[in-house]
């Protein structure tokens, strides 16, 4: 395997995403970026800062505040031979484009009997934790994972932030990438990447352990890792599984970790009720019930809209102590 990039470097998640967009646009003329404030403003999260200057307004397109139209235009452009990266500022606003994503992008291939695939990539920020209150704090990636026909990626690491986009663009079908807003400032080393296609199909064990599995994704990963570290002080070896992909779910990896630890805590910033955590739990129960040595426990967002007030918001969201407590609960100690 050729190592394309030999030097390890430390960058932010934000830089990693920007680098991914830049590289994709350099590599393929069909790739363009469109969304609200991606151009002159530089992106709400400064992800696309500098790209307008580099690629011009045709390929870095500021859109009106018309989520349905520009997401749908992304679908049409993809059908017309382009490889659009559509940035929806946050998942909260994606509800305005839900019809296009769910009724058009996800269904086109199937309704057309396999004639029209939609090679579209939609990126959006997700998650809470920054005191932006109820309408800007949703974690609805689980909703999207409900829909056959789209793929849902949740990069949680610098490496995934950097390389998932390219793989998503190479995918013939609609891919939604959820970037947890709390991750943009995280820093990390970018490991070298070989020239083999980057994996956007499987989950990864981010920390091995033998006593229980912490199953999570996206913004839950740093918390799960911190919890695992804390648990290790109590002599509990937690394995942390980063799902990476919410659709199609890597059931095999989930079952593998449960088969090795026999206990699982699912951490999801979405709500518990009918959420992705329910799906994960159900699959484990369906396919690995006889492996379970304790009831599954979920650490999710409390069943309230996200409050503005800092202490209430913190109380509403999954936090390291909650994960640690849940782990103790399934360990029975």
């Amino acid at each position: 395997m050729t190592i394309l990039q030999t030097e390890r470097k430390t960058i932010t998640y934000r830089d990693a995403v920007r680098e991914a967009i830049r590289a994709a646009m350099e590599a393929d003329d069909r790739v363009f970026l469109m969304g609200e404030d991606v151009g002159r403003y530089g992106g709400c999260y400064a992800v696309s800062k500098g790209l307008l200057e580099e690629f011009g307004p045709e390929r870095v397109r500021d859109t009106p505040l018309s989520e349905a139209a520009f997401v749908g235009a992304g679908i049409g452009a993809a059908l017309g031979g382009m490889r659009p990266i559509v940035e929806v500022m946050t998942v909260n606003f994606s509800l305005l484009a839900l019809d296009q994503i769910v009724n058009t992008a996800a269904l086109f291939l199937h309704m057309s009997g396999g004639q029209f695939n939609v090679p579209l990539v939609i990126r959006m920020a997700t998650g809470a934790g920054r005191q932006v209150a109820a309408q800007h704090s949703h974690s609805l990636e689980g909703w999207y994972a409900h829909i056959p026909g789209i793929k849902v990626l949740t990069p949680a690491t610098i490496e995934d932030a950097r390389w998932m986009l390219g793989a998503a663009l190479a995918d013939p079908d609609p891919v939604i990438i959820f970037e947890h807003a709390a991750l943009y400032n995280t820093q990390g080393e970018l490991p070298p990447q070989g020239d083999s296609p980057f994996d956007i199909a499987t989950a990864r064990v981010r920390r091995p352990g033998s006593d229980l599995s912490l199953i999570t994704y996206g913004g839950g990963l740093p918390k799960a890792l911190a919890a695992a570290e804390e648990l290790s002080l109590d002599g509990i070896a937690a394995e942390v599984l980063d799902l990476r992909v919410l659709r199609p779910l890597d059931t095999k990896a989930m079952l593998a970790t449960v088969r090795s630890t026999h206990r699982a805590v699912v951490i999801d910033e979405g709500w518990k009720t009918a959420g992705i955590s329910a799906e994960i739990s159900a699959r484990i129960a369906e396919e690995a019930l006889w492996e379970l040595d304790a009831p599954l426990v979920r650490v999710c967002t409390e069943e309230v809209p996200i409050p503005y007030s800092r202490h209430l918001e913190e109380a509403a969201l999954p936090q390291v102590p909650k994960i640690v407590a849940a782990a103790h609960r399934v360990m029975g100690r």
Binding site: G80, T104, L109
Partner: protein, 320 residues
């Protein structure tokens, strides 16, 4: 003065739609076709007229009332009928049904059954053409009901803002299912809405196939020439129910009868006859040929096969 052959061609295209759909209604009642079945009868001049203005490279985005568009665009009637039967030989392998006719070969992008949902898609197809410097046009059909949707306004604005090669064809048949335009819009002049986006917009008599064709040709030419998106309000009327099960409480029979007096097929046939461009024999022969074509479509559908259930999960994601 109309070119005789072209005149007869327009008539035949409309007649194909009419007879095909009459057969559909019959087959629906015979339970060969199920689900929703939205008939285009009465509105044939719109699809036929607009399609005349398009080239094979152009694209069409239609609605759930799209048999007419598919036929006029050149989709094989047998594959349409097989689709409605739910057979694997259907244009969408039986996955779509009446509302979701697709054909990549003629750039026919559905068959979109969410009111207003096709507009952003059409804008995107236009965007792709714009970005790739192609002089293709995308014709997006939608009913006047879509005008109340946000997606209509967002799409009109975006297309106009970016001057994309899109022809918006609003088929104003006065009723969004049962909701009359004048009971749902504060501004009934649809062209004014388009004009507010700085988009050329014309009102066209949708019962007059020639008028439609002419307006469409002008608009398409302008769009293709870089004039940005255009809007056509095609005033028409559906003679039959919204779908198959519709007691039509929202409109009077006399209104329907009034509109039927302006039946686009009868009108155009009269004109051709009056001008000596269509003899009774020619008409009868046309009827016979169309009847045979429809019958052959039915035969094709009848002879079709069911997709094996083990194929069920195909076409969710692309196959490598």
């Amino acid at each position: 003065m109309t070119d005789p052959e072209h005149g007869r061609h327009l008539l035949r295209e409309m007649l194909r739609i009419r007879r095909f759909e009459e057969k559909c209604a019959q087959l629906y009642q015979a339970e060969k076709i199920r689900g929703f079945l939205h008939l285009y009868i009465g509105e044939e001049a719109v699809a036929v007229g607009v399609m005349e203005a398009l080239t094979p490279e152009d694209a069409v985005v239609a609605t759930y009332r799209e048999h007419g568009h598919a036929l006029a665009r050149g989709m094989d009637p047998g594959r349409i009928m097989a689709e409605m039967y739910g057979k694997v030989e259907g244009c969408s392998r039986g996955r779509g049904g009446s509302m979701h006719l697709f054909d990549a070969g003629i750039r026919f992008y559905g068959g979109n059954a969410i009111v207003g949902g096709g507009l952003p898609l059409g804008v995107g197809l236009g965007l792709a053409d714009h970005l790739q410097g192609r002089d293709r046009v995308t014709a997006v059909f939608f009913g006047e009901g879509a005008v109340a949707e946000g997606e209509f306004h967002e799409s009109m604005n975006l297309a106009a803002l970016w001057r994309l090669p899109v022809l918006f064809c609003c088929e104003n048949n006065l009723y969004a299912m049962g909701t009359a335009l004048n009971r749902s819009e504060s501004q009934n002049r649809l062209t004014l809405k388009a004009a507010s986006y700085e988009m050329p917009a014309w009102e066209v008599d949708g019962m007059d196939v020639l008028a439609v064709e002419e307006a469409a040709r002008m608009a398409v030419e302008s769009v293709r020439g870089g004039g940005g998106p255009h809007f056509l309000e095609l005033r028409t009327y559906r003679f039959r129910a919204h779908s198959m099960f519709d007691p039509e409480l929202y409109r009077g029979k006399d209104e329907i009868e009034q509109w039927k007096l302006r039946d686009p097929i009868e009108s155009w046939r009269s004109i051709l006859s009056e001008q000596g461009l269509l003899s009774d024999d020619e008409w009868n022969q046309m009827e016979e040929e169309v009847r045979a074509e429809v019958q052959s479509a039915v035969d094709f559908a009848e002879a079709g096969t069911w997709e094996p259930v083990d194929q069920l999960t195909r076409f969710v994601y692309s196959e490598a």
